[in-house]
Amino acid sequence: MNYFPDEVIEHVFDFVTSHKDRNAISLVCKSWYKIERYSRQKVFIGNCYAINPERLLRRFPCLKSLTLKGKPHFADFNLVPHEWGGFLLPWIEALARSRVGLEELRLKRMVVTDESLELLSRSFVNFKSLVLVSCEGFTTDGLASIAANCRHLRDLDLQENEIDDHRGQWLSCFPDTCTTLVTLNFACLEGETNLVALERLVARSPNLKSLKLNRAVPLDALARLMVCAPQIVDLGVGSYENDPDSESYLKLKAAIKKCTSLRSLSGFLEAAPHCLSAFHPICHNLTSLNLSYAAEIHGSHLIKLIQHCKKLQRLWILDSIGDKGLEVVASTCKELQELRVFPSDLLGGGNTAVTEEGLVAISAGCPKLHSILYFCQQMTNAALVTVAKNCPNFIRFRLCILDPTKPDHVTSQPLDEGFGAIVKACKSLRRLSLSGLLTDQVFLYIGMYANQLEMLSIAFAGDTDKGMLYVLNGCKKMKKLEIRDSPFGDTALLADVSKYKTMRSLWMSSCEVTLSGCKRLAQKAPWLNVEIINENDNNRMEENGHEGRQKVDKLYLYRTVVGTRMDAPPFVWIL
């Protein structure tokens, strides 16, 4: 390869798109490193504090697309205080200063402000795509800047963000000349929507493929929108309450029949289930169905809908579907690859919730299943063993038993054997979330068998440091380890400090690690940021002395090439 001119090598590299592969290429030799960095357009940064924008741009000056992740995963569950960090503004400021030709920005768990959105909208002439997942800190005013200033906007995709809805006119800020939209997802907005502006926008966007509406868009508006956009591929229905005899509903039925490209359906944020039959004609084309926010859709209406969806690959549903409903899924959806069953009753007492039976049925009926997230009332080892036998191809297996330390409900044994069977059979397993009563034994199995495991979530599990040690020693590909309320302490934490070089991050909350243990770790590993988050009494930890035998409330450590971050709030102590 070294006898080819650079342009040829670069051309070959163009075909290599995965981040992992490109990273590997850059390590081959100096010449390849150089060619790779100048041709790299897409960069993925899994932890925004592992690097800073200046260094990023020095290495990849031709950056066009950036993915940034901020807060640790457990922030989703309120375990990380709001002001912890993950601020977008410094990144936008640096990117703007460097005049890089940014076109795409994808953010997860970052704190985004209206100011940063405004700056973003004004700084990059070719900006095309903004995807925000689980972010917060901004309002519809920020969206208005994006709409108004990004002349070539293709994607505006807002997924599950906390957005302050000022009920302004952000939709009417899209200029009449804006006709390039492909994705428009504002389902998470809570306020009123300017329906006229929305309809006009959709009417002038012939490339619109994905449209996800919020609950303020009623059924009659939906009907009009679908008439304007029969080319739609991905639809999120807002409010779906209407009289089945009304003209709007009839109009909607007719419009739906014309949407022959529709493959993905979601939303139904407020729904009159008997009107679902309007969608039956296109169900046989659906590959993705997300009804996890449609609390009012259950029972026979839900079942009827699913029975029409024979080509479904992805299904997100509430546990009100019940085991019986899952059996219908198992017998109908033979192409199913990904299933997520969410709890509909957070206090965990519903009779219609799902059990191990539903999971077994799915595993038996859906041979292509590779990803599952399953919230359930109870589980047994036998069921998990059966599931492992039926589905050895799991890549992601996340089980959440609502009562976090519940044993096998038949034998009262811990669920070690069940999860052990899963990791033993599923040789490609990359992500695993545990729950239920678990001892150190399950970790022995994980360390032994889960060779491809990259992310592991542990809660209320294990007996001694051995548990954590099995995992750290055994799982060579571990990237993200997050542990809460488990009895792992300093011995496990400090056993192999160099392990953390190969990992993105480690989270430990309400465990047995002490301040002195964390201090020792920070000393041994200057390339780690060791953060202690103590909301209650940050100062007292130092003053009381006690030789750091105090337990640390929350520990978050991650590798970084840029040292301590400067934007940490007072309750975050970086050792």
Binding site: E162, L347, G348, L402, L437, R484
Partner: protein
Amino acid sequence: MEKVDVYDELVNLKATELRLGLPGTEETVSCGKSNKRALPNDTEKEIESTGKTETAFPPKAQIVGWPPVRSYRKNNIQTKKNESEGQGNYVKVSMDGAPYLRKIDLTMYKQYPELMKSLENMFKFSVGEYFEREGYKGSDFVPTYEDKDGDWMLVGDVPWEMFVSSCKRLRIMKGSEVKGLGCGV
């Protein structure tokens, strides 16, 4: 509901309690030090009898960050639950001139007339007759409500279900303020 009330009381007690333990070592909710082997039935008994939460495993609903569901999703489910399944949708009711407010559960009513009767009984007034165009006629009092968007609306204009899901609080307006709502007196 009762268990939640008991637990709320316990949390408050903990906040004002004087104790000898090191600060930050005992959290009422996340319990890494607790006896994780306790089965749910045992722990509920413990909570009610000892009044302590450090050895008991709190009811699953009160564990911080459990079940592991994104807060965005949790907020959505809670709203729906409160609205639809008899967990009660309690809203404050104020009446101009009354010394204190009341609370009512909107899910207890099926339609507007029931609600009006109940309000009339509660505050000892009469609301007049509702007309689609002119609003309420024949009384000094007008029932209004604050909707999800923060606007004050006349009670009775929208379908009942829509009203229940969007009503945040009620206010019975009286006298001179009433004129703005176009009510003929």
